[in-house]
Amino acid sequence: MYASPVELAAVVFSGILAGLAYRCRGIDDSALAEYRQLSDDLHSARETQRGLMPDMPSDIPGIELEAFCRPSSMVGGDFYDVFRVDEKHLGIAVGDVTGHGLPAALLMSLAFGVIRAEAARTLSPARLLERANSILCRSMPHNRFVAVAYAVLDTETKRVMVANAGQIAPYVSRNSTGRVEAVDVYGLPMGICEDADYGETEVLLGEGDRLLFTSDGIVEAVNPDREMYGFARLEADLGLIGGRSCRRILGDMLDRVMDFASGAPAADDMTMLVLGVN
């Protein structure tokens, strides 16, 4: 039995549609599988990144430390680190790699490792930044850099030496006066200029004083009217924290920033670390 040309065309057309549907199904399946794999990888990367940032030591007499790091996407470029340099000294780093997402996360891991490795070689934060910068300059891609505030705490004298490679300046909240002071030490972010030099400054912490490190995602948090949280609000809010525990300070400060943002999505990672003397 012969089919008419119209019937034949209909059969051929149905066959083409069925074939296309089958092939599209294949594409959907493989795209979905790739998406799932990518999603799994990102979750693993997030967990790995979280794992790099340590729990705060709680066994140093008179010292309290708390920190949080909130990436604006699944993984981020912000980081913090606290580690023992020797029996008496603690290294404290708060960093921010340009951008966010996976490229920033990869560079963050690099910066994190370089700082840890170099910290064992010097107690001077400025010299550490110079050495780390020199190494990172050889590895950083075009238009990427790492901003890092790095401090070394003498756990006996409570003297902190601070150096800064392009990070938001740390603030000291003085318990005795209620004053909030920016630690006036600045320098180029790492990864730009191989022979960059850095200065360092001393901060002596007294009973109840707090030293707070932040990334630019905090001061540049915006509300739906595109206003920035900014330095003035940060300083005013820090002026209200006197005497509070470091844990409570972090919670209160994050609440204040999120209240200000009023639901506007974070454009950048947010990191805060508070060092307190009790």
Partner: protein
């Protein structure tokens, strides 16, 4: 936040002025570099970046400007910035950029130090 960047170029005697309006982020890299390259090729002695209508510069934006500073240095050109908000004046100081660029409150004050007054506008 992501307000698309607009860029306007003009020359005042032997000074180039690049006015930016919008957000300075990684999305603006090509535009800013092209704007600078175009003025730099004219052999101008000094280029002023006017940030007056800019409300946001993220770290990628800072990275773009650092790249421009390097280019200007290679070409022997002086670079100034004008009209930065107090917030970004502070950020520029913190990232050490004030060691490499002159910072002025306005384009007029940046020009005054050069003593030039003619104004030829080239739309971007």
């Amino acid at each position: 936040m992501n307000e698309e960047l607009k860029i306007f170029k003009k020359t005042v005697s032997d000074v180039g002025i690049i006015s930016l309006a919008g957000d300075v982020t990684s999305l603006a890299e090509e535009q800013i570099n092209a704007g600078f390259d175009e003025l730099a090729e004219q052999g101008l002695k000094k280029v002023i970046f006017d940030f007056t209508p800019v409300s946001y510069i993220n770290s990628s934006g800072i990275a773009i400007l650092i790249g421009i500073i390097n280019k200007a240095k290679q070409k022997g050109q002086k670079l100034s910035v004008a009209g930065l908000s107090p917030h970004f004046q502070k950020i520029f100081r913190m990232v050490g950029l004030t060691r490499f660029v002159e910072v002025y409150d306005s384009v007029e004050s940046a020009l005054d130090c050069k003593g030039v007054n003619a104004n030829v506008c080239i739309p971007g």
